[in-house]
Symmetry: C2
Subunit: 299 residues, 2 copies
């Protein structure tokens, strides 16, 4: 590998701008594009890179940091304009995007679908941080069509941000994302939705537990509808399994029997332990990550 | 009010020991009791107070920091032993405890049920902190039998820890707690339970979102079974409402229609905004509270 010297980032939201800030710090030249001139201007002012102009040299890597539904058309247009040698994206769902890219006639040999497992409920370039990906897993889901050189460049791009690349099949990614990202988002939103018409006195009693449980519910609605809609079958299947567990607990609680609830709480203890042991979230202690969430009452 | 000069704390777990540490810092003498000699010894070694001995003077306030099911019998025994002038507890459910105290023949004129809205998923005296209650709401639920003097002393006790007392009816507390504490705990546990048998690759992709959503699922199982069991009807009713929202979303997602999901996400945004605006959790910036939880990917 000769090393990435310049990158084009299309989409200067939270993720795109954070990637631009991160790779610039490593000496990579960054050109930026966004159909929203204001977001682009803000990212440029933040020092994330220079605006993309016509007739520049081909970038080593083009990062499509656009919403899931936009990836395929933007990839097609970028490849037609010959913006770069290799391409990757950051969308939270992978198999449907690969299918869409194929439908759009994209060149899949130089496209390596990706998904950095980091972000924030604050959207836009103003929330971007150069250290957003430090120590985080960055999923890469190359198709059978992908050439090894493109996979290597996408991997290097992820590593330049401080992330840890993890190659897996698109379908494996989407199943995992349904469980560990999409399901929690829907459930957190459903809990937060119940607070929309809650009594003020109830909100006044709210502690850090419900704050943590509902934090992701502040996420951008249209972006999440896009992601969840593209992974709808897998997310719905996860929801149905969860609903069955909750129904069993509610039914038994009403009958004065706590056996199902006890099993749920014990499995919850175990699942939480496994999560802390096997994931790479902020409790792992990467220097750029924020401190552990505040604690809340256990009774 | 003459001011509280000495307090007895029965139960040297996280909450009892934190209360003892907090009021001691304000110059109040603290005597401690716990049926677990090891927990008591640890709290004493941490400087939370002296062990309670027979034939001491009556305390101004006796704080029962024991699990919900133990409050009534421990209150009865403490009153029979004439430990103090006034009594309060810290359990997460109130109406059933008041009923149990009545059944146990307790003197309700000097008992003011309470519930500090703070804590942590770590149990035991070792996790105690003098600043645990700083800026947090402390619910007080005096019955019609309670004398004004006892209510004043319980209020002063809460204020000595840095908490903000909030008087409300026991039934109002229990309805609010079902929504903002008990329901999120069950749902967080159900989500964490799904991780118990998850693929390792899925856990590797887990970011801060699922970490925050499942944090409270690490809570002590027997303590939570006690609390949830005592508030079972209200918690089950909240669960049923939530389940209906989730079922509607899952059904429509499977049919390729995201209308119910869109409504849930939008109401989730609104509920989250209300929570941050109206609650007193750690984002409020009280000096003793920990920093805001780390952020996670929104797509």
């Amino acid at each position: 590998m000769n090393g990435i010297r310049d990158v084009i980032v299309i989409g200067t939201g939270l993720i795109g701008t954070s990637i631009a800030l991160a790779v610039q710090k490593r000496g990579v030249a960054v050109r930026l594009a966004d159909r929203d001139a204001e977001a682009l201007g803000q990212a440029v002012r933040l020092g994330a890179g220079q605006p993309l102009t016509a007739h520049g040299r081909l970038a080593d890597l083009v990062v499509l940091a656009v919403p899931p539904a936009a990836v395929a058309p933007v990839l097609r247009d970028a490849q037609r304009a010959r913006l770069g040698h290799h391409y990757t994206d950051v969308a939270g769902v992978k198999a449907p995007i690969i299918a869409a890219a194929r439908d759009h006639g994209c060149d899949l040999s130089v496209f390596v679908p990706g998904h950095p497992m980091a972000g924030g409920e604050q959207a836009g370039p103003g929330a971007a941080r150069a250290d957003l990906f430090l120590g985080r897993t960055w999923a890469l889901c190359p198709t059978e069509d992908a050439c090894g050189r493109s996979v290597g460049v996408a991997r290097e791009g992820a590593e330049l941000t401080g992330a840890v690349p993890c190659e897996l099949a698109p379908e494996t990614h989407d199943r995992a994302a349904a469980l560990i990202s999409h399901l929690p988002h829907v459930v957190s939103s459903a809990l937060a939705a119940r607070l929309d018409d809650a009594d003020s006195v109830a909100l006044r009693l709210a502690g850090n537990g419900v704050r943590d449980v509902t934090r992701v519910a502040a996420g951008d609605v249209s972006l999440w509808l896009d992601v969840l809609g593209q992974n709808a079958d897998l997310v719905a299947a996860e929801l149905v399994t969860l609903i069955e567990d909750l129904q069993r607990a509610a039914r038994e609680m009403r009958a004065g029997n706590n056996a199902a609830l006890a099993s749920l709480l014990r499995r919850g203890n175990n699942g939480r332990r496994r999560l802390l042991a096997e994931s790479t979230g902020s409790d792992g202690g990467s220097p750029g990550n924020r401190p552990k969430a505040a604690t809340e009452k256990t009774a």
